[in-house]
Structures are given as structure tokens and as C-alpha cells.
Amino acid sequence: MTTLAHAQSDESQFGVAAAIVWAAAHDLRVAMRSRSELAVQILFYVIVVSLFPLAASPDRALLAALGPGVLWVAALLASLLSLPRLFAADFADGTLEQIALSPYPLQALVGGKIIAHWLCTGLPVAVLAPLLGLQYGLDGDVLAIVTLSLLIGTPLLSLLGAIGAALTLGARGGSSLLALLILPLCVPVLIFGAGAADAVRAGLSPSPNFSLLAAGLLIALVGAPFATAAAIRVALD
């Protein structure tokens, strides 16, 4: 892990920032080696969003009402699909154990991995959302609000999902178990995220939604890496 040694900063020997940067860069490098896997996950998002009008009806009013909710649920599902990739591969080949043994704080290393996960899954989803929202006939301002809510919400989904991914390491049941554990916890994110666009459609202000989402994100930024690190140590024992 020579690159990790180079990442040591001057002030603190095993700094949090260095750990985060290293872990994020490492995971991004690994992810870029299998770009097609990332593309498939984003394609999954696109396809799921396109399925709802086919299954329900192409009625414009119905689609406009459903649109933000569908974009959000699909984002949640796409995040769920990519979560096992976060720790499972490293767990299987022993890299995770080495990461846990490093003198750098595990919470920071986990935080870096979550950032990489969001950059590969959440950010593309949020960027694609306005384009897909056009399929639902959403107005420009609604599209902007949906995109903004996804930009704040998808990191939250990655953070909460990481806890579930760590808890299910080495457990039978795979991604279905992960979904069962994570989805109830993501309900508030879904409600406030999709609710922002609904508020704008109803002519109300979306700021309470955004305030709550942002508050949730700040709390999760601190809390989720801690819970995830604890779960990883449980899995490694």
C-alpha cells in the first residue's frame, strides 16, 4: 500500500483527509477498470424509469404526478443494485482486512469508498434525471428541483446503503437481504426527496424538504461511516 504511505499529510501522521482521498481515489481507479459495469447500472436506472409509463398509462397528468416519485424510487433501486460492489469484492480477496488493519481511521477510509460509490452511481443518476424527467412531461422548474433533491439525496442513499452493505458481508441472502435492511431506513429520504418536487408542483416552497434532506445528509456524513466501520469490524472478526 505504498500509495497510502505517500498520502500522509504533514500535520497529522494518519490524517482523516488523507485517508478519505486515498480510499476514494483507489476505489475510483478500480471502478474505472470495469466501466461497462458502471454503464450497466446507469442503464438499469434508465430502463426502470421508462418501464412505469408502459405498465401504467401514458396519460400526461398521471405521469406528471408520478414522475418525481418514479425517478426517486428508481434512483433508490439503482443505488441498491450497486451497493454490494462497495465492500464485497474487497472482503472476498482480503483487501478489506488490510484496510481495516491500516493505521488510518477506518471511518475515514469507509467515507472515501462511499464518496467513490456516489460518484459512480448517485451522481450519474442525478445528472440523468432531468433528461428522463422529460419523458414524464415535467416542467423545467420541477426538473430542476428533482435534480437538486437527487444531488442531495443520493449521497444519503449511498451512506445509508453502506451500513447495510457492511452488515450483510459474508451473510447469505445477498442483495435481497440488503434491500430488506436498507429500504425501511431510506423511507424518510424518499419522502423528503420526492416531496420537494411535489411541493413545487403544488405551488409550495420546497425549502423545508431541502432543509431536512441537508440536515439528514450532515448527520449521515458523520454517523454512517462510524456505523459502517463498526459493522465491518464485526464482519472481520
Binding site: I163, L167, T168, G170, A171, R172, G173, L177, L180, L181, L183, P184, L185, V187, P188, I191, F192, G195, D198, A199, L212, G216, G223, A227, A230, A231, V234, A235, D237
Partner: protein
């Protein structure tokens, strides 16, 4: 003999049985008393007629479903902090009972909703939160079954329970917020009817019945779990030989 004498599976095991029996009898007595109050003493409700009598099981079950989760979370914190087995086993024993209580609350709530508000399921705050609570219970039980090593399962489930416990107020708040937004300021679907003292008394007695029942069943399950998990140890093989 210090308080901590009973904190090992071996010492608590024989104690659990008489405690469970006592609470089982208490539960039966409270249930008889509560049902007597609920069906014989309490009059019909002015607005809901006889249909309101469902609250004598719906509300106790709902309260127990939430209370049991809090107790599970408490023992999970103890298990993680002190690395004890018995507290983790107790949390493991409580989860199915909590899930049953949640199911009863959901079913009876649905049966109550149909005659009074016209629908088996309305996405109101309390019922939706109760549904999510059922998913949380299922998650803890599923994780327990998915991990083979019992001590690893203890720690993972304790973590999950605690994360869930932190989330429950947030979930409830978000669902309630969502519901008021889409409901409008009209009638709250789960507002309890204005209750006479006698109805409240009946509900309280039934809550005690539910509580004592949960204790009895959970302790009985705990005994089974202790035997399953400690079967190699000397105190059990000693019992077998005796």
C-alpha cells in the same frame, strides 16, 4: 449474591421458567379482566357503535410493538457495550414477539378502519409507520438467520437494531409530515375516539395483558435459544446426565 449473578445464560436459564409461568398467569388474568371490561362493562361508542371495541387489542398491540423494539434496542446496546451473550440472546428472543405484535396491530387496525373510515388501508401516518416497523423487525430476523456464526450475528443484529431505533422517530416524523401534506388539515384517521374512563381502563388492562404475555413468550423462547446456542457447554451436559 450480586445482581450480576443472573447475567450468564447458565444461571438465568432455570430462573426464566418460573418467571415466564408467573407472567403467563398474570397475562391470562389481565386478559380476562380486560375483555370483560371491554365487552360487558363498556358501552357502545356514540359515533362508532360496537366497532370501536377493536381498540382493546389494536392499541395494546401497537404499543407493545414499539415498546418491544425499544427493549430490543436497549439489550442490543448492553450486548455491544459489555460483550455479553445473554443480553444478545434476549434481543434475539424478543424480535419475533415484536413482529407478531406489529402484525396484530396492522391487521386489527385495518379491520377497525374499514367500518369506521371506509377503507381497509389508508396511508395514514401511524399505520404506515407501523408497516415500516414490521419491515424493520423482519430485517433483524432475516439478518440473524443469514449469519451462521452466532456471536457475529449477535453483533451485526445489535448494530442493525440500534441503527433502526435511531431511525424510527425520523421515519415516524417523515411519514406523518408526508401524510398531513397529502391529507390536508381534515380529520386525522387514527385519532382515537373521545374515550370514557371505562374504555381507557379496559385498554390499560389489555396493555398489561399484552406486556405480561410478551414477557412470558420471550422468556420461553430465550430458554430455547440458550439451549440451542450453549449446547456444548458443561452446565448443559451436566443437566443431561442428571
Amino acid at each position: 449474591m450480586s445482581f450480576y449473578f443472573f447475567s450468564s445464560p447458565a444461571t438465568f436459564f432455570p430462573l426464566a421458567r418460573p418467571i415466564a409461568i408467573v407472567f403467563a398467569w398474570l397475562a391470562a388474568l389481565c386478559a380476562i379482566a380486560g375483555l370483560w371490561i371491554g365487552f360487558v362493562v363498556a358501552p357502545a361508542d356514540a359515533q362508532q357503535g360496537e366497532a370501536y371495541r377493536i381498540i382493546f387489542i389494536h392499541v395494546p398491540a401497537a404499543w407493545m410493538s414499539m415498546f418491544i423494539y425499544v427493549v430490543m434496542a436497549f439489550w442490543s446496546i448492553v450486548a455491544l457495550t459489555y460483550n455479553t451473550r445473554l443480553s444478545a440472546m434476549l434481543a434475539q428472543a424478543l424480535a419475533p414477539t415484536g413482529a407478531w405484535m406489529t402484525f396484530i396491530a396492522l391487521f386489527t387496525g385495518s379491520m377497525w378502519g374499514r367500518p369506521t373510515w371506509g377503507t381497509y388501508w389508508a396511508w395514514d401516518a401511524r399505520m404506515t409507520s407501523e408497516l415500516i416497523l414490521l419491515f424493520l423487525y423482519f430485517g433483524v430476523i432475516a439478518l440473524r438467520n443469514a449469519i451462521d456464526d452466532p456471536r457475529r450475528a449477535d453483533r451485526a443484529c445489535s448494530l442493525l437494531t440500534i441503527v433502526g431505533a435511531v431511525n424510527i422517530p425520523i421515519i415516524y416524523f417523515s411519514v406523518q409530515w408526508w401524510n398531513t401534506l397529502h391529507q390536508g388539515a381534515s380529520v386525522s384517521l387514527t385519532a382515537a375516539p373521545r374515550m370514557a374512563m371505562i374504555m381507557l381502563t379496559g385498554m390499560l388492562v389489555m396493555t398489561f395483558a399484552a406486556w405480561f404475555y410478551s414477557i412470558a413468550v420471550a422468556l420461553l423462547r430465550l430458554r430455547a435459544i440458550i439451549l440451542e446456542r450453549e449446547r456444548g457447554s458443561a452446565w448443559i451436559t451436566g443437566l443431561a446426565r442428571a
